[in-house]
């Protein structure tokens, strides 16, 4: 398997990711602000009736209760916008978190000595280079292992002749194998 089968994340895919975030975030923060405006608009929309005395007391009462209204409406705003931001982050970042989770599982399999399958990224995932790098590493290791085994088997085939040739071929194979193994440090 080619280590660069999928290459890097295409700029178009990342552009789409950012576009989706910016549009959604614009909508979330805009709707949150609109919500805050409507709450405060409602609060300040009580009609002013009567004479100066009545208006004076109404305005003073509004000023007195303002702190709790602003605090509560802002708290609702923070919760609303933060909750929406949380959902947005979970939904958008799973395209990165998903492949990472898959790779962690593949690494665990590797350590458990189980068969390591090629790591595939799903449609729309954003980090194909990570999968490609892991597949490249495992693929290269497998290629080397097959080459080493082939080398030993070639030497084995010559063992059908006499014992001396067999030993000499095996020693030659061991010398070549030692050179190949020196690549790993």
């Amino acid at each position: 398997m080619s280590p660069t089968r999928w290459g890097r994340t295409s700029p178009a895919r990342f552009d789409a990711f950012w576009r989706r975030f910016l549009l959604s975030w614009l909508a979330v923060s805009g709707l949150g602000t609109l919500f805050l405006f409507l709450v405060l608009y409602q609060f300040f929309s009580s009609p002013l009736t009567g004479g100066y005395r009545s208006v004076f007391y109404t305005l003073r009462h509004l000023a007195e209760s303002l702190a709790s209204v602003v605090a509560l409406s802002m708290l609702a705003y923070v919760l609303l916008v933060s909750g929406a931001a949380g959902l947005l982050c979970i939904s958008l970042l799973y395209k990165i978190a998903g492949p990472i989770y898959g790779l962690e599982k593949a690494l665990e399999n590797c350590l458990d000595g189980e068969t390591v399958k090629p790591f595939f990224v799903r449609h729309g995932d954003l980090v194909p280079e990570l999968g490609a790098a892991f597949n490249g590493f495992v693929g290269r290791l497998r290629e080397d292992r097959q080459r080493w085994i082939r080398m030993l088997e070639n030497a084995d085939r010559l063992c059908l002749q006499d014992r001396e040739t067999c030993r000499a071929e095996r020693e030659k194979a061991l010398a070549e194998l030692e050179i190949l193994l020196s690549r790993y440090r």
């Binding site: 910016l22 975030w25 705003y77 982050c89 440090r185």
Partner: protein, 184 residues
Amino acid sequence: MRQSPHPHVRRRSKLVNLRLQGGAAIRIAVVVFVFGTLIAFLLFRDIRQALWDASYSGHFTFPTPFRVVEGILVRRLVVLFALVFAGGTLAFFWHVRGIRRGISRLVEVLKASAMGDLSSPVGAPSPGGIIDFESEIDDVRSYTFGLIDDVREEVEALRTSVLSADEFARRWEGLKEKIGRVSP
């Protein structure tokens, strides 16, 4: 028809990594909270002042108090919207940048491993520890290096030791078995 290299498989849950996905949400929530608190304070201070001033003016002819606070409210909310939008975008961008950096580093490590470097340490964790499976990658590299080292030692032993033909043949088979264990 050309087959896509990306199998279209739906994940059951979208929350698979709390630190990676929740971290961005927490950063944005902090931004919203900080700017929200700041604007709430300014709103409270300015609107209260405006209401007091209006109550003292005596000739108040508007039908609702909204006309008194309208300008302040709109201005402050526009500022809040701009700050939250810009701050949230920056926080998200910063988070994604950290993730991309961590991934780039791991890609480099895996590429170096494919070239045979299994012993150089992965290095410091990514900024903010968003990508935190360096230890797993290091474990896999050490495990692989251990297997290769076993093969190397066996090769060396076969080459340098004086062994009888039977013993040599027995260890030769053992060597094949050890090679078979590399990358299952």
